[in-house]
């Protein structure tokens, strides 16, 4: 098999800075550097992970265990302090859908803008526009400004754009809780379809039942370390038993 994502012992320290102005930093230095200007903690601590092409992996763990941080490293939003991350093929994140939406633009403009932000070309968006519109069930409201959308419509459109980007590696962070139940089912079916089509999926979610339906492999994180890597059912079981 071919490796799609190769993470080699990456570590990431976060600085919790209390100050954001030169003045405060200066005062701190003048006063003889008393006290801590910043606190650090390890968000990721020597994490290694290999994902093969076509695999669907669930990243599991409690809040603050480093799941989302790991995802951000794979997408390139964050760079590790040490270690390496390498990916093969185009990576697209379904990370917080609607991040690139602008409330004052129409749904149509937002589809184009968000599509381009997620790496689609103009032709690709033109070609998939109908499909995006169909999937989102927005219908005639597509030319209305997004700020007048209900939160469900907003998320449906955003999700629909993201799902149509067609990358080789999909990063999915806590977005399956989109819209009403019929739409959720539709999203789930679409994600499964992507998995069946040989796309690599890396999913972060607290909905353990849902994750076990989508993924085969489960990786359990705790305090920035991988504590278990195996069948998703076992990983879910372990997580439930630990807490």
């Amino acid at each position: 098999m071919v490796v799609a994502v190769d993470v080699q012992s990456i570590s990431k320290q976060f600085v919790l800075r209390h100050t954001r102005s030169i003045k405060e930093a200066f005062v701190w230095i003048v006063k003889g550097r008393k006290g801590d200007l910043s606190q650090k903690f390890h968000a990721l601590d020597g994490v290694s992970l290999q994902v093969e092409q076509g695999e669907s992996v669930a990243l599991l763990g409690l809040n603050g265990s480093g799941k989302s941080t790991l995802l951000k490293h794979i997408s390139g939003v964050m760079l590790p302090d040490s270690g390496t991350v390498r990916t093969r093929g185009r990576v697209a994140g379904l990370i917080e859908v609607g991040a690139g939406f602008h409330p004052d633009l129409s749904g149509r403009d937002n589809v184009y803008l968000n599509g381009a932000i997620l790496g689609m070309s103009e032709e690709q968006i033109n070609e998939r526009f109908e499909s995006i519109l169909d999937f989102s069930e927005i219908g005639q409201f597509i030319d209305t400004e997004v700020k007048f959308y209900s939160s469900g419509m907003y998320l449906r459109l955003a999700f629909s754009v993201a799902i149509h980007t067609d990358p080789e590696i999909f990063l999915i962070d806590e977005i399956l809780a989109v819209g009403d139940e019929p739409f959720q089912k539709k999203c789930l079916a679409k994600i499964k379809e992507l998995g069946d089509a040989g796309k690599t999926l890396i999913v972060v979610s607290h909905d353990l039942d849902l994750v076990s339906k989508v993924c085969r492999r489960g990786v359990l994180l705790e305090h920035g370390r991988i504590v278990m890597d195996g069948d998703v059912a076992d990983a879910v079981e372990t997580l439930r038993n630990r807490h």
Binding site: V2, V3, D6, F14, V15, R20, S21, I22, K23, Q53, K72, H73, I74, S75, G76, V77, M78, L79, T84, V85, R86, T87, R88, G89, V91, G93, I95, E96, A99, G100, H102, D104, L105, D109, Y112, L113, A116, I117, L118, G119, S121, E122, E168, G198
Partner: protein, 297 residues
């Protein structure tokens, strides 16, 4: 599907990536332009009204009250050709310096060449510069302007210097602003100085004579060279050369003193060189700082 190589995500090609994502850049610019004047009655007309009012204020204060109309031929054209360029610089740099923090929500979540944001800010300002340039051209034609290829080239060079400066400084201060929000206040101060530290409101001979009077000919000469090295000074003088000088005539305006000597053969290459260095420096700083944007924003 497996033909692609393993690559490290998050390492872009800097400004080269911006060239590659031209479509996204165009959409970002279109978004800015659409959103800018939303809900305003005058809309894009504000791009005419604001510089128009500013021009009238300066023209009254400096032209009439301080007597610039008397010692400078076609002073309104002189004034306006400098103002449009400095306005472009001020808007471009001011917005570029805020662009990274302003788009923090996006930068934190999705990887894309972050240089796009400062570049888009400068581009938006360039779009706002166009109507002002049109007004300037109308004024020039009324004043009997007939440009040759040299004048056109000078205008293009002046515009290029300011654009590169704005992109370079915008990258630098935009990235610095993520770590220290003091950066945008520093930029505001810098922009206030920029209007007065280049010969927009007055003429270069007044700078030379003033410096010589105040500091003597030796130090005055040095200070004047420093003043002259400011790439904004060079760009503004290029605009004077392109738009104002062709509207003047011999007895009132001495062509040898209208713009600084050696403007085209020495100062213009210097200005372009400095602007290029600034853009490289800005890009280097940006590259060094951008790795931690997502966690600092």
């Amino acid at each position: 599907m497996s033909s692609a190589e393993l690559v490290t995500p998050g390492f872009g090609g800097g400004l080269r990536d911006v060239l590659r994502s031209r479509y996204l850049l165009r959409l970002l610019v279109a978004k800015e332009l659409k959103v800018r004047y939303r809900g305003s009655v005058l809309g894009l007309l504000w791009s005419y009204v604001k510089p128009g009012v500013q021009f009238v204020v300066f023209w009254f204060a400096l032209g009439i009250f301080l007597g610039m109309n008397r010692n400078t031929e076609n002073y309104p054209i002189y004034l306006f050709s400098g103002i449009v360029l400095i306005n472009y610089f001020n808007e471009a740099l001011g917005n570029a310096a805020r662009s990274i923090v302003g788009n923090g929500g996006l930068i934190k979540k999705i990887y894309l060449p972050r240089e796009l944001f400062p570049v888009a800010s400068v581009w938006v300002s360039a779009v706002h510069f166009v109507p002002q340039l049109l007004v300037l051209l109308v004024a020039c034609f009324i004043g009997g302007w007939s440009p040759g290829p040299v004048q056109i080239a000078a205008a293009v060079a002046g515009f290029a210097i300011v654009t590169m400066l704005a992109v370079g400084l915008g990258l630098f201060f935009g990235a610095a602003n993520v770590y220290f929000r003091d950066s945008e206040n520093f930029v505001d101060m810098l922009l206030m100085i920029a209007t007065w530290a280049s010969p927009v409101l007055y003429s270069w001979t007044m700078v030379r004579d003033g410096l010589f009077d105040a500091f003597g000919s030796g130090p005055g000469e040095v200070l004047h060279t420093v003043y002259q090295t400011n790439p904004l000074t060079i760009a503004v003088e290029l605009f004077h050369f392109a738009f104002w000088m062709p509207t003047t005539s011999m007895p009132r305006t001495d062509p040898l003193l209208a713009v600084p000597p050696n403007l085209l053969d020495i100062w213009t290459p210097i200005g372009l060189g400095i602007a290029l260095a600034v853009i490289l420096g800005g890009q280097l700083t940006f590259r060094r700082l951008e790795g931690r944007f997502a966690q600092e924003l």
